[in-house]
Symmetry: C2
Subunit: 329 residues, 2 copies
């Protein structure tokens, strides 16, 4: 995230304590925000605010920055809990928080950071923003539930439509729809309802790109463990498409691995499955699907922004959304 | 909690979905609230609102009810996460949520319920309440961190003062101080600063009573697993006091058990330790300490409420606080 957002986030968080263990707690609160994410969603929010007529010299810009800070804090507390839920090993090139301090402490750190997110929302004091954050958490948690419940229940009898519903809930709202809407609200504009279908398509494209990169990306550019989704047993469009046409023996080998917990998975078998997936047409299929969603979403977004107060800023917003939905990393 | 609070809480939560797995998620959101806690903190809030001059026939009573609902939702999401953090087996006579649906799903249910708590705070729309909830979560999470970090670090080299700091943070704010302050705010009164020291003493008394009941309570009245704190390796005033004077052999046996995870603890050894604690003077010491804190806290609260708008309601508040701080269950 940009430094002016990080400094705002850190200014909300406590730093010093005469009790060493509390000072350590405060350090844990600052850990993920300081690891420096890309700030994709906060940039989208600020670009949307500009498209909706807010300039960074306006007094209201400060409010937009606080909303952007709140969005980054959302991302960070959610990632702490996600990493526990998925038992991820790494986050942004370092061990996941629960691998540094244990699951119980990390759950509690995420909860505290969740509350600091609300402090940032309060600081922004933008009418309508409180409700946007509520909606964002509700939808994201619903999508996350589908994902986790399928893992928990070893559920692989799923259609691509199930995956798409999950992704719309889990990714599209917090990655695209809500940042776009918050940008409008920061500019004092009632968000257009047309932002929602645009964001659903773009968010879907974004997540499928992420799934593709996780299997077939450049490890240096991508920055996450390649194949990590397989180890975590994630449902993706790629895997569900592949399961629909894979030879029975490959399917059986896949389901055998997916029945196991992460630690019990056989790395050699996972490598074989990884290669089957890459050699099948399913990665290409997902790539094509994502591209079509990106094209559709951009068309819808262009239309939704047709009457935007600042056409130049609206064009810039479309450019950054295009990069986001078709990214290589 | 009283039915009018439960119905308000449930009215905020989604119920039906065409997607069976989402309908299950909604059921999980409703699970803990529907198990029916005692509603201690919401009753305290409402009693404080009355003492501060609000009557249940006033239009503002509805706002007080929403704040009380938010407090109950706070209690419920925190308990879901607490039960994971402590790996508790039961909650309110039924399996803890994570034992029904797994840890990942339960973390996510707690997060969603946390957001619904903020929806209730928003619905109440009481000036100052938003900040009270922020403070409450911050302090509670700090106290929870101390508790969890000591368990994680197998830290037993602690003084009673460490325990008391933990309890003030973890229990006193959300059990006494914030309910009393929220009651004042609901009545449109700026909370007296004198409520804080009163609440710290009363909250401490409440938690130590709970620790005593957990070891020495009547299983039927208490409703929780007797000795559960020992199995969970909880630091209590009783244990820290006992460690200061116990025979070396007993201390060694105790620390040997406490080094183990819950599942590896030896039930017979835990039973022996339980008896040593009961036979030592440490339970009585803790009981006396709690009694002194209760007396002091009640004196401070009586003084803080001296000019309360409704003296009769203030007297009723004192009576219920007295019952709370000296409870048998």
């Amino acid at each position: 995230m940009r430094p002016e957002l990080l400094s705002r986030a850190l200014s909300l968080l406590p730093e010093r304590s005469a009790t060493p263990e509390l000072a350590r707690f405060y350090g844990l609160l600052r850990d993920y925000p300081q690891r420096g994410g890309k700030g994709v969603r906060s940039e989208l929010l600020l670009a949307s605010a500009r498209a909706h007529g807010l300039r960074d010299t306006d007094p209201g810009w400060e409010r937009a920055l606080w909303l952007a800070t709140a969005l980054e804090l959302f991302q960070n507390w959610v990632l702490i809990h996600d990493d526990i839920e998925d038992d991820s090993e790494e986050r942004r090139g370092q061990p996941a928080l629960h691998r540094l301090c244990g699951v119980p402490v990390a759950i509690n750190v995420g909860d505290a950071l969740h509350a600091y997110m609300w402090a940032a929302v309060g600081r922004a004091d933008v009418p309508g923003a409180f409700e946007e954050f509520l909606t964002m958490i509700h939808r994201t948690a619903e999508g996350q539930h589908l994902d986790l419940a399928w893992v928990e229940g070893r559920e692989w009898n799923l259609a691509p439509a199930d995956y798409l519903q999950m992704v719309e809930l889990k990714t599209a709202h917090y990655t695209v729809i809500v940042p776009l809407r918050l940008g409008a609200l920061a500019a004092g504009v009632i968000p257009s309802e047309a932002l929602t279908p645009a964001g659903l398509a773009l968010g879907t494209a974004f997540q499928i790109r992420d799934d593709v990169l996780n299997l077939a990306g450049d490890p240096v550019k991508y920055g996450k463990e390649i194949g990590g989704d397989l180890l975590e047993g994630k449902r993706t469009l790629i895997v569900l498409h592949w399961l629909g046409a894979a030879p029975e023996s490959q399917k059986a080998a896949f389901l055998d691995q997916m029945r196991r917990d992460r630690a019990d998975k056989d790395p050699a078998a996972i490598d074989r499955i990884h290669r089957w997936l890459l050699d099948s047409g399913s990665v290409q299929h997902a790539q094509d699907y994502a591209q079509a969603q990106a094209t559709e979403g951009l068309k819808l977004l262009e239309r939704a922004l047709a009457g935007a107060p600042d056409p130049q800023a609206a064009a810039a917003l479309l450019t950054s959304v295009r990069e986001l939905a078709t990214r290589e990393k």
